[in-house]
């Protein structure tokens, strides 16, 4: 693992909402390194700061203090245009609350990132259809979000995140609204992407989902309380992994 170049490198990230009196410290000094090709599950109680952390990693939000290197580039110094490019090309983001465009068909929703990437109409159509097929929604692609169930909307959101073939996939509870069948379908998809070399970070509450990942990070009150790697002998603390990393 130590030989892999890090994609994400967070150093002492803090995020505070609100002013002095009723300030909420969502993140209190998170440091985390994710190497290329890693498969990370972030766990923790509700309100522990998982989504906040994910938004910062996805360049959708900025930390109050701390340093964030994405592919060795300091995100803070990126221009609006460069940030747009990073969000469009490098990152596929699945939101906890889907965030699909209303009054817009599933197909058009999935096409959207390709539009901003400047992909031509026919090519766009083809890739969006393929992505929807991948999540098992071929027959529903001309339906609008309000005509889809929660689980179907979630799968549209997953398809949209995958359609640009990003190297980094960030998913905030991608299976939160899915039954066990769809859930394992989506997880099988992530496993396949992982095997193809993509870096995946996902948030989950469920242990069997976290089992798919190679590494589990636990957050509590805005701090990382454990960082374990999934080995043959079960979960081993990351400190050990680092020590025995070369043996794997």
């Amino acid at each position: 693992m130590g030989t892999q170049r890090p994609v994400i490198e967070l150093t002492d990230i803090r995020k505070t909402y609100g002013m002095d009196g009723n300030a909420v410290h969502a993140l209190r000094g998170v440091s985390l390194t994710v190497p290329t090709g890693d498969y990370v599950a972030i766990m923790g109680a509700s309100g522990s700061g998982k989504s906040t952390l994910m938004n910062i990693i996805g360049c959708l939000d900025v930390p109050t203090t701390g340093r964030y290197l994405l592919d060795d580039v300091e995100v803070e110094h990126l221009s609006d245009r460069q940030l747009a490019l990073v969000r469009n090309r490098k990152i596929g983001f699945v939101f906890q609350s889907f965030n699909l465009l209303p009054r817009t068909t599933a197909l058009d929703n999935v096409e959207l990132p390709l539009v901003y990437a400047g992909v031509g109409t026919t090519e766009r159509r083809k890739r969006a259809r393929a992505a929807l097929e991948l999540v098992g929604l071929s027959e529903r692609m001309h339906h609008k979000p309000q005509e889809l169930s929660g689980g179907q909307q979630q799968r549209v959101a997953v398809a949209r995140a995958l359609v640009t073939a990003p190297s980094l996939i960030l998913a905030d509870e991608p299976t939160g609204n899915l039954d066990s069948t769809s859930s394992s379908d989506v997880m099988a998809l992530f496993d396949r992407l992982h095997r193809a070399g993509r870096t995946i970070v996902l948030i989950t509450h469920e242990h069997d989902i976290a089992e798919h990942a190679e590494r589990a990070i636990r957050l509590m009150d805005g701090q990382i309380v454990s960082d374990e790697r999934n080995g043959e002998r079960g979960w081993i603390s990351e400190q050990h992994t680092v020590r025995h990393g070369s043996a794997r």
């Binding site: 938004n55 996805g58 959708l60 939000d61 900025v62 609006d80 245009r81 747009a84 490019l85 969000r87 469009n88 090309r89 983001f93 939101f95 965030n99 699909l100 465009l101 209303p102 009054r103 817009t104 959207l112 990132p113 539009v115 901003y116 990437a117 400047g118 949209r160």
Partner: protein, 409 residues
């Protein structure tokens, strides 16, 4: 990201809220339509006044007697010599003077009467019979319809000939040809030499209830040889009327032995200055109408801003989603700007159509005359309004952080 996609998103955005888009468009439509229509009405009324004055003759000056006004009486009280002299034939002749009145082309003395004409049992009271010289016709812009005008010979020999207006002709002769017929004017037989082309009515007066006969004839049989009622003077050009007016005033002042301070016993009416006054009035009118219209256009523009603000606020989440998926600021800005400009351009185009349709009707008795510049201006202004008023909310939307925008409910 191509422009076509920006356009497509903007169009979808407008379609998503059809009623709102339609109402905003309506605001601009009314503004642009009003500008075009009101400016056309102003222009039309100006043209109408011009046409009315053209009918009378633009180079025309009318000298008439003015019985002692306030100034005359005041000067009499202080003992200064002042009286109302008659306008004489000699006065009239003195006005054609290449030395003292270089701007006067010709003159025609005028006496008037309102006699009764009869022909074959039909009777018609002529509203105005003018006894004058042939020059009168050119000065006052009368055209002969049929037959011929009165001649110098007619005047010299006091022939009992008459040229009648269309109203007189129809009343006495119906559809028959009046030329060469004998009519009785206050029981004196006159031969109809010709008819005048119709001028139509201006205001309440019927300009065609009119007849012209030689001066001498009318003096002989109708008006007597007292003062002339008028001297009609034709200036050399429309631009020379003011100079001619001054020359006439100075000639008559000296002929009537008036002191410089006494108020004159004659009056020179200048059609050209009437025209100038009325055209400046109609200009003011046009500007006023234009201003009202411009205000309504501005209100339409504020409508667009308001709608764009509401739209942007309402669609903040959408903006957040788009930015999260990699839309650069320019794409967001472009989308909302195109929406605003499309609203105002559609409104502008419909407004131009509405304005053009409106100008085909007579508005308040005025036939509107389209001013092409007003169309171009109104259309350009509506496009600029879209750009200007749309850019503010669009820019505000484009600057948002994705997460800020997404949290917005």
């Amino acid at each position: 990201m191509r422009f076509r996609e920006v356009f497509r998103f903007a169009f979808a955005g407008l379609r998503a809220n059809k009623l709102r888009s339609a109402l905003t468009t309506l605001g601009i439509l009314i503004g642009v339509g009003a500008v075009i229509l009101l400016v056309a009405v102003g222009k039309g009324s100006g043209a109408q006044v011009q046409a009315n004055i053209d009918k009378l003759g633009t180079n025309l000056l009318e000298v008439s007697r003015q019985a002692g006004g306030f100034g005359a009486r005041a000067s009499r009280n202080t003992g200064t010599q002042s009286s109302v002299s008659a306008l004489t034939l000699a006065d009239a002749q003195s006005l054609v003077d290449p030395v003292n009145a270089p701007d006067v082309l010709d003159e025609a003395p005028v006496v008037t009467a309102s006699p009764t004409a009869t022909y074959d049992g039909a009777t018609h009271q002529i509203a105005q019979l003018v006894g004058t010289y042939p020059a009168y016709l050119t000065a006052t812009n009368w055209q002969i319809a049929e037959g011929s005008a009165i001649t110098d010979d007619d005047v010299n020999q006091a022939r009992k000939v008459i040229v009648i207006g269309q109203t007189v002709a129809t009343d006495l002769f119906g559809t028959a040809d009046p030329v060469g017929q004998q009519v009785m004017i206050n029981s004196v037989p006159y031969t109809v030499e010709g008819t005048l082309q119709a001028k139509g009515s201006s205001g309440l007066q019927d300009a065609d209830d009119f007849a012209i006969a030689p001066l001498t004839t009318v003096q002989d049989s109708l008006s007597g040889f007292g003062s002339l009622s008028q001297i009609v003077v034709q200036a050399k050009s429309a631009g020379a009327t003011t100079a001619a007016q001054n020359e006439i005033t100075s000639i008559l002042t000296s002929r009537h032995h008036l002191s410089a301070t006494a108020s004159p016993d004659f009056r020179v009416l200048n059609q050209q200055s009437l025209l100038a006054t009325s055209s400046s009035t109609t200009h003011t009118f046009t500007v006023l109408l234009g201003a009202v219209a411009a205000i309504s256009l501005l209100v339409g523009g504020i409508g667009i801003t308001n709608i764009m603000l509401v739209t942007v606020t309402e669609r903040t989440r959408e903006i957040g989603i788009r930015k999260a998926l990699g839309a650069p600021r320019a794409a967001i800005l472009g989308q909302f700007l195109v929406e605003a400009v499309m609203l105002s351009l559609i409104g502008g185009a419909l407004g131009v159509a509405a304005g053009l349709i409106g100008t085909r009707f007579t508005v308040a008795g005025v036939k509107p005359v389209i001013v092409p510049a007003s169309i171009a201006l109104a259309f350009a202004v509506s496009a600029l309004i879209g750009l200007f008023f749309g850019s503010f909310p669009a820019n505000r939307a484009a600057k948002l952080h994705p997460i800020q925008a997404l949290r917005h409910e």
